[in-house]
């Protein structure tokens, strides 16, 4: 079942890799580990495409026909290195919204091209990324550069596939970004939090031991989010360390780097 669930992850998740991951747990703890895998929220290409389709359709003023749109619409990837989540996001976004043809190229720009667009109050900029966890990265990027790059634009959205509610609220209260997330996670999605009903307190303690082995510094993931979220192109670092951390003492099932 897991093989079907996790198909398409950037590094192969096969029977051998799953068994290898489970073997890192003591025999008595493997049931908890297996249930953690059952609870992983995996976003494959189809789910991501659906999120972007629904997301764009929901934005006020957007229309597939240029004549019926309000102002210019510009789509920008927030992270731009080759093979990263931003590049992947823009590609998936274009496919999902049937905007892959070259006629739409003009609407998709890199961050460094935004200033040349000479944005006005009639224009809408949509920044694309996969995930908002703590909201720190988006807030910092806004303060460091994006607020200046999009200066003049009437509306600026940050469209992501999924977000933590707390992270979304943080971004919205600290920036001028309107965050649109197709999926939202709340405190009950924090594996180690009191609100999480999937596991008992004992099970949480047991699993946390292994997360601490995977990462002493951030066992519950960046910002203590405690999430079990995995995207097919990369596992966010806000997810628990046992899923993605990889070093000599631990090998995550969803490594973030090759």
């Amino acid at each position: 079942m897991w093989l079907n669930d996790f198909v398409g992850y950037r590094s192969a998740v096969n029977q051998g890799r799953i068994e290898e991951w489970l073997q890192q747990f003591a025999a008595k703890d493997r049931d908890v580990a297996a249930r953690v895998l059952d609870t992983v929220d995996f976003f494959g290409p189809d789910r991501i495409a659906h999120a972007f389709r629904a997301g764009l359709a929901a934005l006020p003023g957007w229309h597939t026909s240029a004549a019926q749109r309000t102002g210019r619409w510009i789509f920008v990837q927030m992270s731009s290195s080759a093979g990263d989540s931003g590049g992947t996001m823009i590609h998936q976004f274009r496919l999902a919204n049937r905007m892959a043809r070259s006629v739409y190229d003009r609407m998709f720009v890199f961050p460094s091209m935004l200033v040349q667009e000479q944005l006005t109050a009639d224009d809408t900029v949509v920044l694309l990324d996969d995930f908002v966890g703590t909201g720190e990265q988006a807030t910092m990027a806004w303060n460091l550069s994006f607020s200046e790059l999009v200066a003049g634009a009437g509306t600026v959205y940050l469209m992501v596939v999924a977000a933590r509610r707390r992270g979304r609220e943080r971004v919205q209260s600290n920036t001028n970004l309107l965050v649109h997330a197709a999926h939202e996670f709340d405190d009950s999605d924090d594996l180690f939090g009191d609100d999480c009903q999937h596991f008992t307190a004992d099970e949480k303690r047991t699993f946390k031991k292994y997360c601490e082995r995977a990462s002493k510094k951030t066992p519950a993931g960046f910002g203590d989010c405690g999430l079990l979220v995995v995207f097919s192109h990369r596992c966010p670092n806000d997810s628990v360390a046992a899923l993605h951390a990889s070093h000599s003492r631990w090998r995550g099932l969803f490594p973030r780097n090759d």
């Binding site: 992270s79 731009s80 931003g86 890199f110 460094s112 200033v115 990265q137 460091l144 200046e148």
Partner: protein, 246 residues
């Protein structure tokens, strides 16, 4: 409503012309001068647009127009000289992937060095990629290590060891694990001299630091000497491309 209440037949309006793009950008720079500094890359991109619109790339005039320090304009122009894919790296939202502008500013003198331009194997973009790889693998400890590279390039000319420098620089670029010390072709004399000057500078610094201006108020020759020294230090730092407005 106010006009109606005071029985005015017409509403007096102060009509202000819509600001031009140039006026808008200049106003933004002036506002930012009084607030937090921008990151350098967004500033550079705004400057690029401004320079296009006013059709003037003079650092002195652009600095005067925007209120930016001329040294900042120079740094921005250096960043603009890099291809777009490198500019994107400075703007990346992901802090793990973002490369600081200082990396490219320190690298710039090597890419535009008269000696490297003579090496037939040297390609600026390929060298930049190699340095980024070195930066990622932490073989490059600090971006200021590029100053050491530049020093070795300069000294290799003086020491007539250009061939050796070319070979070592190529090895340095080709292997991400090779540290900057691989390029050291300075004579022992240069290193010893640098240490001696640094030591003398520290002694002089301590003397001037403890000097009470009131006590030496009338010692005109002393102040003239310090002025000359200050000017010379600023001149040398400027030659080095160091910021002297700190």
């Amino acid at each position: 409503m106010c006009a109606q209440e005071v029985n005015l037949p017409t509403v007096p309006v102060n009509e202000v012309a819509e600001p031009t793009l140039v006026e808008n950008i200049v106003t933004m720079f002036q506002i930012h001068k009084l607030r937090l500094d921008w990151e350098l890359m967004p500033t550079a991109l705004k400057l690029e647009l401004l320079m296009q619109k006013v059709k003037d790339r003079s650092e002195r005039r652009v600095a005067a127009l925007t209120g930016l320090d001329q040294a900042v304009v120079v740094r921005c122009k250096k960043l603009l000289s890099f291809p777009r894919r490198y500019q994107e790296l400075m703007l990346d939202a992901d802090p793990e992937k973002r490369i600081k502008a200082d990396f490219f500013i320190e690298l710039y003198p090597i890419l535009h060095d008269r000696l490297t331009a003579r090496f037939d194997w040297f390609k600026p973009n390929a060298f930049t990629d190699a340095m980024l790889e070195k930066h990622e693998s932490r073989a490059l400890k600090a971006v200021t290590e590029f100053r050491f590279v530049k020093q070795q390039l300069n000294n290799s000319v003086k020491a007539n060891r250009i061939g050796l420098m070319s070979r070592r620089l190529r090895e340095f670029a080709d292997d991400p694990t090779i540290p900057v010390s691989h390029l050291a072709i300075d004579s022992i004399k240069t290193a010893a001299s640098a240490r001696k000057i640094a030591k003398s500078a520290k002694v002089l610094y301590d003397v001037i630091d403890s000097l009470d201006p009131n006590e030496y108020y009338g010692e005109g020759e002393l102040w003239k000497s310090l002025e000359r020294l200050s000017e010379l230090i600023r001149k040398r730092l400027k030659q080095l491309g160091r910021r002297i407005d700190k």
